[in-house]
Structures are given as C-alpha cells and as structure tokens.
C-alpha cells in the first residue's frame, strides 16, 4: 500500500530549501510572487488544524509546480491582505530556517545517542502524604477530555496522510480504464482536496506508478497509468 511518512513534509521552507540546495532548476521557474502567496496563506489561514502541516506542503508543491497547474492559483482567501515578502526577505527567512534545520538534525543525533540511558527506578516505599491528587483538577480534566472533539487518528501516520492515501487510491482507481485528465478527477473537490490530490499524483508519479503529461505550458494535465 502506498504510504507517505509525515516526516517527509516538514513544511514549505523545508521543501523550498531542499529544492534550492539540490539545485533543481524548477525552483527558478516558479514566479516568486506566487511563492509569496504560499507563505501568506501558510501564516494567515484561519482554521488550519493538525492537517495543516501536510496540507501546507502539498500546497507548496502545487505552487512550485504552478506553471503546470494554473487553475489552482487563485488568490488564497478573498479579502486577505498580507505584506508581500521581497526576495531579500524570503532569503532572510530561509537562512534562519536553514540554521534551525541544521540544529534539528544535530538534536536528533543527540537524542539518538542518548536514547539508551534509562534512569534508576529503584524506589523507596512510597510516602503517601507527599503525593496529593487534586480531585477538583481531576474532575475538570475528565470534563475536558471527554467532551473534546474527536481528533483524527494519529497512530504513526498523520491524519492528513490518510487523506493522501485515499486520494492516491482514488486516482489509481480512476486510472484503471486508461488516462484521465486531472481536472476531471478533481472536479467537485475543494481547494484543499485538490491540492492534496495533486500532491498524491506527484507522489504516485515519483513512485513510477503514473505519468504526468502536459502538452503545452499552462495546459491541462493528463494522468496516464504506467504498466
């Protein structure tokens, strides 16, 4: 089964930086203004919950491929205005992010190197009078826990990943009878689902499961199953 580790999507800065560092030409083909729109929507989108992490990256992918897929490029939200980042400002942010990214890698190494230490569990007979559990806090906590809106399942894959799986499955199902246009597949989907569907298509393509065809710049995209 097709799966996507959430780890792959650490956010649009991460993705941008990877493309830049890998010297992939694509990044130069993307109008900066559109990238900036991406940042805007990332920062200001109002109701983003835990799915955001992936959705943002999917949107980033979509926008990076914007020459391929113009219909997705309507402005983020009507009425939302945010200051545009200049290239220098964007470069500044990416530079700061790169440092954090490096720090995170070092941190991961340190955590790994220290994972084998287990603290002493030798304990004395418990001193009951020292530990007090607040009943008020316990009841307050119970009320909150049991009335919390159910969150998506998060075992080892992020909830949004399930959506990608669904959409990947949907795309594969749609292609069983031959090539289909992307527009056809996503007709009726909202922006987010469309973005995630495109990311799913990109992933399937990078896995060698399908080809993405486009006859002219800004033209419609056709998905063609690979044998």
């Amino acid at each position: 089964m097709f799966t996507v580790e959430l780890d792959v999507y650490a956010g649009p800065y991460d993705l941008l930086l990877k493309l830049i560092m890998r010297e992939e030409l694509e990044v130069f083909e993307v109008p900066l203004r559109r990238l900036v729109e991406l940042y805007r929507s990332t920062h200001l989108a109002p109701d983003l919950e835990r799915d955001t992490e992936f959705a943002d990256s999917a949107t980033a992918l979509v926008l990076l491929k914007s020459r391929l897929l113009s219909p997705l490029l309507e402005p983020a939200e009507a009425g939302e205005e945010a200051p545009l980042l200049s290239p220098e400002e964007l470069a500044g942010r990416l530079k700061e992010y790169l440092k954090i990214r490096r720090a995170a890698e070092r941190l991961a190494d340190r955590f790994k190197a220290n994972a084998g230490y287990h603290p002493s569990a030798v304990s004395l007979p418990p001193r009951r009078e020292r530990l007090a559990i607040s009943r008020g806090r316990l009841l307050e906590t119970a009320r909150r826990v049991f009335s919390r809106a159910p969150e998506p399942q998060t075992h080892h894959l992020g909830p949004i990943t399930v959506t990608v799986q669904e959409l990947a499955a949907l795309i594969e199902a749609a292609l069983t009878r031959g090539p289909r246009s992307f527009d056809e597949i996503v007709s009726g989907m909202d922006r987010l689902r469309t973005a995630v569907a495109f990311a799913a298509a990109l992933s399937l393509s990078s896995e060698g499961r399908l080809n993405l065809l486009q006859s002219e710049p800004l033209g419609p995209i056709t998905l063609e199953p690979r044998p």
Binding site: H118, R128, R130, V145, F146
Partner: protein, 189 residues
C-alpha cells in the same frame, strides 16, 4: 557487555525484586552465569562500603539503598521536590478512573494521543496497575485500573466518591468517547 553489567542494568530499572529466571532470560544468559554475575555484584554492592546494596529477598534480587545511609536518603527526600503530576498524567488518570478497566490503546483513543509513556510512569508510581487482559481484543492487551494508592492520594474512599460521569458531560459526548474506545479495540493488534 559482561554478564554482571547486564544484570546490574536490569536491576536498576526495576522497582521490585526480579527472579533469577527473569534476570537470566532478559540478560540472555544461562542461569549458572547469572548466578555468578549476581555473586560478583553482591561483592561490589557490599554493605561495608557501598551506598547501594544487592538484596536477595523472597521474590528475587533487588538493588536498594544501604540502611546505613538511611539518614541521608531521608534528608534528600525532605529537600527533593516530589515530581508533580503533569497535565497528561491527570488526563490519563481521569480516563482510567471513569473508563477503566481499560487498555493502553483505549486510553490513547480517548485522549487522541499515544499515552504509553505516561501510563508507564503512572504504573511505576503505583497509581495505575494491570488488573487483567482484554481477551476480546487482538493480542489480549492488558487492562489497567486505578490503585488504592490513587484513591488515597485523591482523598477518596472508593470510586463512588467521584461524581458520575453523566454529571460531567452530556450523554452524546459520552457516547462518542465510548465509540472511540470500542473502535480502537477492534483496530488494535
């Protein structure tokens, strides 16, 4: 790692005595070698010079403080801040109090995040304990419940001292939570 080191590492993470058999199995050593390693450790952790001693008690072997150091240990406990219960610990305790006996998977399903680490620390602190297994679920996971220790710390005589759940949340919300627990049981394994 040498035999004594393996045994030593296992003993220090166990709050209770460990049997020869359990030691030799976890350390991947034959019992005679385990016994020898224990003799070596007994020499090293001797009551004459060490602050930690190896005790051989009914249930097995255990590292413990040397009674000759009791004064200092007591004085440390006076100054040491007892680790307060975290918000996550309260959530797990509330979940088990009202939904228990319940599996680790069930607790995680109610809270929406993996709760194994929190459960482990509460079991270590003897506020939760395993009371059986859910034979219906795949893999028969352990069922957890709150302990006497928990009730004492909360100043309660028993469960009936806590208000019923339907006074805290609506029937509809409760149904949703129960549904999540049931679903997690079916998906486990």
């Amino acid at each position: 790692m040498n035999a004594a080191a393996r045994i030593e590492a296992i003993l220090i993470v166990s709050p209770r005595p460990v049997s020869l058999r359990a030691l030799s199995r976890a350390a991947d050593l034959p019992e005679p070698e385990t016994r020898e390693a224990l003799e070596e450790l007994a020499r090293r952790y001797s009551p004459e010079s060490s602050g930690v001693v190896l005790r051989h008690v009914a249930g097995g072997y255990q590292l413990a403080t040397n009674p000759a150091c009791a004064r200092y240990v007591e004085s440390f406990r006076e100054v040491a801040r007892p680790a307060p219960l975290s918000a996550a610990a309260y959530e797990v305790l509330a979940t088990v109090l009202y939904m228990g006996p319940i599996t680790r998977g069930g607790i995680s399903a109610v809270r929406g995040v993996n709760s194994d680490a929190v459960v482990r620390s509460l079991v270590d602190r003897e506020l939760l304990r395993e009371v059986g297994r859910d034979e219906e679920a795949p893999g028969s996971p352990a069922l957890l419940d709150v302990t006497e220790e928990f009730l004492t710390a909360a100043g309660a005589e028993g469960r009936e001292d806590f208000p019923p759940l339907d006074e805290l949340v609506s029937a509809e919300e409760l149904e949703r939570v129960r549904e999540r627990v049931v679903r997690s049981g079916r998906e486990a394994g």
